[in-house]
Amino acid sequence: MSGGGDVGGLRQRGGGSGRLDSRGRGGPRPGPLEVARLLTCVVARELMDGEIVAFGLHAELLLAAALLAQKLHAPNLSIRHGLRVERGADLQPAAWTSERAGRSHERVEYLESHDAILDVASPASPMRFCDVFFVGGLQIDREGSTNLIGIKGKDGRMKVRGPGSIGTTSIGTLARHVILFSGEHTARRFVDRVDYVSVPGWRHRAAAGLAGGPSLCVTPLAVFEFADGWMRLRSVHPHAAEDDVRRRTGFALPAGPVPVTAPPTPAEKTALEVIDPFDRLAAVDLAPDGGEP
């Protein structure tokens, strides 16, 4: 099960600049760890006790957020990382890829065989896959639709082939709560209308006869919420400038004053030290500008 949480830019990862180059409203420019920790807190605050939160593999920040929520206010939060229900108190190396942490399976409390995703997709089941599902995209639009399929050229044909919708479409349609998460905040990512729909937003859902839509979108610069099915700024992070955020968003946002995202509280900071003692969050791929030069 891939949640698409880690699908970022179109470039090869690892070589980009990855810098945070927007000006803060005050205070010194934060490092990648500080930004990642802030986002971890932002996400954690959205997770409720007793819920099941799900995201794809390679999503350390979301995992950290779930662990933080568990520690602070949601002891009965279940964490679905891919098809595993995880337990454990801190952020460890990814379980199944190149890390050689042979003991990672000790963090698994329950797991599904891969095709069992069909069995648990229904949000009405006590064995449901999730209550809250995190989704990313190559493009995200104002109504909250995402696109991992491809980007059209001027001729209307597919110009850039995307990776594919991986695990996002069905669960993103069925989950009670969809939260969008993007490590990039550019006008290329945040577009007026996505070229293809991997997970439908408010209007595409309504057209298909489905109620609701994504509830939130978290980026390295800001948090969006939805009003009447359109994105608007809920808060801008302390290190970002509101006009810069608006400029980097490829569609018009309602005017009006926007609060600053609440920085990590002392309790959150303390818990984060336990969850991520080795600062693994510093390596999370957050490049607001898409890592371009």
Binding site: L10, W96, L210
Partner: protein, 301 residues
């Protein structure tokens, strides 16, 4: 009379695949791709294959596309996780219109195989309504029943399935390593159940039948043809045996990206070195560096 063994050689098994077939391949992202078999299929210069891999596929699919064997892919995605967001040969061939993509997600991929295994003409799935999937696939239709939207998913039925796993006995009982992933299966069983034709398993090691029969709950697939091919998932990993070779993935990704940007030489060199010029297992081992697999091996728990 005694029971017949179901063991054969890599070439012999590869010869069961023919031009134009729908070929199922095991693997999820970096894990368990049947790469030794994929290289053997490429050396047979097969054409016009439909590849059913994944649901989220990796290098097994991309290499077959890059070598010109594929006309259609049934996949929820082809990607190399953090090494490369979009697999390069897949991207190039799709952008040039050289391959068709049956656009789905992981649930619908599994569902199409289930519909085949269960002998159903189609299945109505509540997920995916409102997405572009129905508009991109003429055979995926959005329909309504009692006012609710569903995607009508047709069966996808492989003609032949190749998978790679940790071990099997000589009678075709295939299983994963006990040491890791805790019985989690990827798509091995789904593909095998949906196949209308033979299921061929390359395995790290053929083990005693008695050992396999002592833990039947661990068997993923029965009735497979078995090919012993240690290291046969490289550069992918095998759950509980060895981790993926990300350095090799980067080498491949670099060659693929170079070709996508106009320089075909590195990719051609990759094919010569690791595929056409490495017909024997020893040749491949030498090409990747003699003790490479040892370095990737997972320590027993």
């Amino acid at each position: 009379m005694s029971r017949a063994q179901r063991v054969c050689g890599l070439q012999e098994a590869a010869a069961l695949a023919r031009d134009g077939m729908v070929v199922g391949l095991s693997g999820f992202s970096y894990q368990n791709p049947p790469m030794a078999m994929v290289r053997a299929l490429i050396r047979r210069r097969l054409k016009d294959l439909t590849i059913v891999s994944g649901p989220t596929s990796g290098i097994e699919t991309d290499l077959l596309i890059g070598a010109g064997c594929v006309k259609r892919v049934v996949t929820a995605g082809v990607a190399f996780e953090r090494v490369l967001t979009i697999a390069p040969a897949f991207r190039l061939a799709a952008e040039r219109g050289e391959i068709e993509v049956w656009e789905c997600d992981e649930c619908i991929w599994h569902l199409a195989l289930k519909a085949a295994a269960w002998g159903m003409p189609h299945v109505l799935w509540p997920g995916g309504a409102g997405s572009s999937l129905p508009e991109l696939n003429p055979d995926l239709r959005e329909v309504r029943e009692d006012g609710r939207p569903y995607i009508r998913v047709p069966p996808v039925r492989p003609d032949i399935v190749f998978l790679h796993a940790a071990e099997a006995d000589v009678y075709g009982n295939v299983r994963a390593a006990r040491e890791a992933y805790l019985g989690r299966t990827f798509s091995e069983k789904s593909l095998a159940l949906a196949s209308r034709g033979p299921v061929i398993a390359t395995v790290e090691r053929i083990v005693e039948h008695e050992e396999v029969a002592a833990s039947p709950e661990r068997t993923l697939v029965r009735g497979a043809l078995v090919v012993e091919a240690p290291g046969g998932a490289h550069p992918g990993g095998v759950s509980g045996r060895y981790v993926p070779d990300l350095e090799h993935y980067r080498e491949y990704a670099g060659a693929g990206e170079a070709r996508r940007r106009g320089d075909p030489v590195p990719y051609q060199r990759y094919l010569e070195r690791y595929v056409y010029g490495a017909e024997e297992p020893e040749d491949y081992r030498r090409a990747i560096g003699g003790d490479r697999l040892e370095h990737l091996r997972m320590a027993p728990p």
